[in-house]
Structure formats: C-alpha cells, structure tokens
Symmetry: C2
Subunit: 290 residues, 2 copies
C-alpha cells in the first residue's frame, strides 16, 4: 500500500505540474530534490512569475523515521516510528481575478495504524459565486462516487478547519478536508486517488474563466490584503506548517505555501456594497454545491 | 504605582508620537480609542504612508479583568484577576535604508505579584554597523544608569527571544529585552521610565543618517523579504501577539505590528559577498556596544 501511494502521489505531481505549466504558458517548474536527515525526502517544484502564476508550489514527499516525542501524543497509532507520503500544493495567481487554491493528499502510517488525509480549498479575491460553485460541485461529484456521506462531512470539516478565529472568517470559500480515513484501505485509496487526479478539473476551468480579464489596482490591493490573511492562517493555525517548522522539516518546502507578496493594512473596512464587502461576505460557511 | 505607570506610558506615547510626526513630516498619526469588553481599553495611533514611515503603530493600553484559565498557569502571580498597562510600538519605514524598530514597556499586576517588562530591537535591511552600534550603545547607557548588570543580561535575553529557530537567525540585530522585573518598584519604574523616554534617542539619529539616501529596487526587494521574516516571527513566536489573538484582544491593535507589505521568495540565497549576505551575517548575536 505504501509503495502504491508513493507511486500515485508522484504520478499526480507530474500530471498536475504538466497541466499547470500548459495553462500558465509563461514559465516552467523548477525542481529541487531533497533528503530529510531523519529519513526520506522529497521533490519540490516551484513556478515563479509565470504567465498566470506569481508563485505555484507543488511538493511531493515521502518521509519516515522516529516521531518527535512532543508530537507523538497528538497522533493516532502507536510506537515511535512513522511513514508519511503525500503531495501538497498552493497556487497564487498574479491576477486578483483568479482565486488562490490549496490541495493536499497524504497517507500516514504509525505502528499498527494507517490513514489517509487531505483536502482542497479555494480563496477568491473577487465575488464570483460561479467559481465557488464549480469548485464545490466538482469536489462533491468526486466524493459522491465514493459514498454520499463524504461530501457533507468533509465540506463541514473544511469550513471548521480553514477558519481564522481572531478574524471571525474563513480563509476562503472552503472545499473539502478529511483526516483519519482508516477504513478499508482499497476504498480509501480509490477515493484519494480520484480526488487527487481530479484536482485540475476543480481548478483549471476557474483559471480559464478569468485569465483574460483585466484587473484593477484596487483589486490587486485587496488581493494582497487577503493574502495577508492567508499568511496569518498558515503561520498561526495551519497544523502542517507548524508541525513541519517545529520538527525541523525543510523550511523552504514548508513555506512554499506563503504568498509571494502580502499586505497588512490597519483596520481595513470594506465600503458597504463594494466588491470587497461581497468577497468578505463569502467567507462564511455556505452551501455552494446544490 | 498603577496610576503612575498609566500616566508614564500615556506621556511616553504622546512624546514618541510627536517626535515621530516631526521626523516624518508627511502624515499625522490617526488615533483610535477602544474599550476592551473584559475591562479597560486603549489608545492606538497609526501613521501610514508618511514621508519616512510606510506604517508606524504606537499603542497605549490599560487592561484588566479575569485571566483566561488556559493562560493563567503560564503567568507569575496568583489569583484570577490581572491589571496590565503598557506601550508598544513598531515602525516600518518605507526606505530599505532605514531599519524597522520595535519597542514596548509594560507593567503587569496579578494578585500579590507585580512586575515590569519590555525591550527594544532593531531590524536593518542594509549592512550598516554604525546603526547597530548606536542603537546598542544608547540602550547600554540607559541600562548602566540603573545598574551594570542590566545591559549584558537584557541584551542576551533579547538575542534569545527575537530568534527564528526554523531560520537559525535573529529577527534583526537585537537590543534589550527584560521581563519579570519584580524588585524594588521605585528603582524598576525609574529604569523603565528612563528606557521609554530614551526611545527616540536610540532610533531617530539612525533615521536622520539615512533619510536622504537614495535606495534601489534591489534593496526594496530584500527589505520586503526580510519583512516576511518579521511576519513569521510575529505570528509563529511572538508571545504578545499569540497571547493577544488567543485571548480575544483587539485584533487591529495587536496586528498593527505587521509589515505593510511583505514578500516570500522560495529558497532565497544571497550572493556571496553581497549586501544581502552582509545583512544576514549581522543576524547572529554580536557585541555591538563596546
């Protein structure tokens, strides 16, 4: 199962990078291979200042070794050794007309336990309901192929997880998030493989819809402000980021998710009725799929 | 003692804001008065897009009430109620030739215990040893007026505190940091008052030195990258920020410290022998005062 997952995630990284490079048209991915001192390593790919993407990071990793005792208590399973393999990506388009997106899919093994986790979430900078609808409906279709409980469950989990309590808002319009899928390994692998292989379908049509739209300075400014919130989420709350940094992971691969440029403005308040106010109104749990 | 500290910190906020406005010459401070639902409140002042400062935030606050049980265990003293008053400031100049600076001074009371804390640290973007020397020597002179143990002790504490373990570097060139000063209240108040009133002397001469120097696009880019590290420190490690956000403090006043614009670049490595490499070499503990 471990080997099949490694092969799956490598394949998905290749397919996603090829698809993104084709869509971008302006710059190739650069690849860095790295070893983890404690065991394993990864293949980080990043595309910078492309035709569409200001920064696109797509990581594959396969790491194993001894768990940090400080974190062992927070993880399911037993014993000191673990094995984890997965893919994670964050795409920050240059144009504020195109949303940022994050996805990751992983399998973790610890002692006698093994489980899948992952998800995908969308962060728009303009109020376009159709984007949120397309993203959620595509994810729901994938989930439904593997059981009708999945989408409502993972959608609600995503709404809870990608949430900034100090701001009282979500990072974006959500998507799906799941963890601890430890049931029938074949069924879970089939679901995760389907979700990972569907990523481009959830996102590229949104890119196509907006890629030729002109954007304004005001939209750019608001995008940078929202990217500040993205940075806040990653550094204050994201479990993967905090876990990685506190366990001496490869810093550049962990922080590949950070926005290329972000802005903080004291006490920003959108004008009532403005596009900015409409985007912020989208950052609450909502039924986007039906 | 409480009332005298409140009066001191209000006075210092006024003096510092006047001095900064005069130096800036381009924009005034805007003031927001706010109440804390649990008790107390504050006076936040921010200057944006001025002649020197891209963003300057200077907060006074005086808050009291019941401690969050989750944090009560981490604090000295006894009992559920606390009183805290202080001033904190972060200045982000527009020009990369001028360093960013942070300072804060506070007094906290909990049950039968009361103590002072605070400090100041400097974050340069160009390699100018004279700036670090001036900053440290001025702080040392202040400390020495109140006992010769203070500077070495507080300087070392600052080097440890303003440190990004995941980067293996300090946020800047340090300064002083102290906490738990619970000895003779009159002597400690005299020290804190002297340090707070000396802030402009530690920093404004550095502003004057560089204010008319032209800067390059490359320096600006590096400044934004270093401001990304500043954001990392604030959100990942700064105890004040994390404490404030987790205890439902006033978000805009807490995050006033965030840089107005910050950049993240994948796997940035300075060219050997470059100014960027020289700045990064400064981000390790060093004796700047002698």
């Amino acid at each position: 199962m471990q080997d099949r997952c490694i092969a799956l995630f490598r394949e998905v990284q290749d397919t996603i990078c090829s698809g993104l490079e084709r869509a971008d048209g302006g710059a190739p991915f650069r690849e860095d291979l790295w070893d983890r001192p404690g065991g394993g390593g990864g293949r980080s790919r990043v595309l910078v200042d492309g035709g569409i993407f200001e920064k696109a990071g797509v990581n594959f990793s396969e790491v194993h070794g001894e768990l940090d005792p400080a974190f062992a208590g927070e993880m399911p399973g037993d014993g000191p050794t673990f094995h984890a393999t997965g893919i994670s990506l964050v795409l920050h388009p240059a144009s504020p007309r195109i949303p940022s997106v994050h996805a990751n899919f992983r399998r973790i093994e610890r002692g006698s336990a093994a489980w899948f986790g992952g998800g995908a979430d969308l962060t728009p900078y303009i109020p376009c309901d159709d984007d949120a609808r397309h993203f959620h409906r595509t994810l729901k279709a994938v989930c439904d192929r593997h059981g009708h409980d999945r989408y409502p469950d993972y959608k609600a989990h995503c709404d809870r997880y990608f949430h900034l309590p100090h701001r009282g808002e979500m990072r974006g319009v959500g998507g799906i998030f799941f963890d601890g899928l430890g049931g029938d390994p074949e069924a879970e692998l089939a679901f995760v493989a389907d979700a990972a292989r569907s990523f481009l379908d959830t996102y590229l049509p949104i890119v196509e819809r907006h890629r030729d739209e002109p954007s304004t300075e005001r939209e750019r400014r608001f995008q940078l402000l929202r990217r500040g919130r993205y940075a806040e989420f990653n550094l204050l709350y994201d479990r993967g980021t905090r876990f990685g940094l506190k366990t001496a992971g490869r810093v550049e691969s962990i922080l590949i998710s950070m926005p290329p440029l972000a802005r903080w403005e004291y006490d920003f308040r959108p004008e009532p009725g403005s596009d900015e106010a409409a985007v912020i109104a989208m950052l609450q749990p909502r039924d986007w799929a039906s």
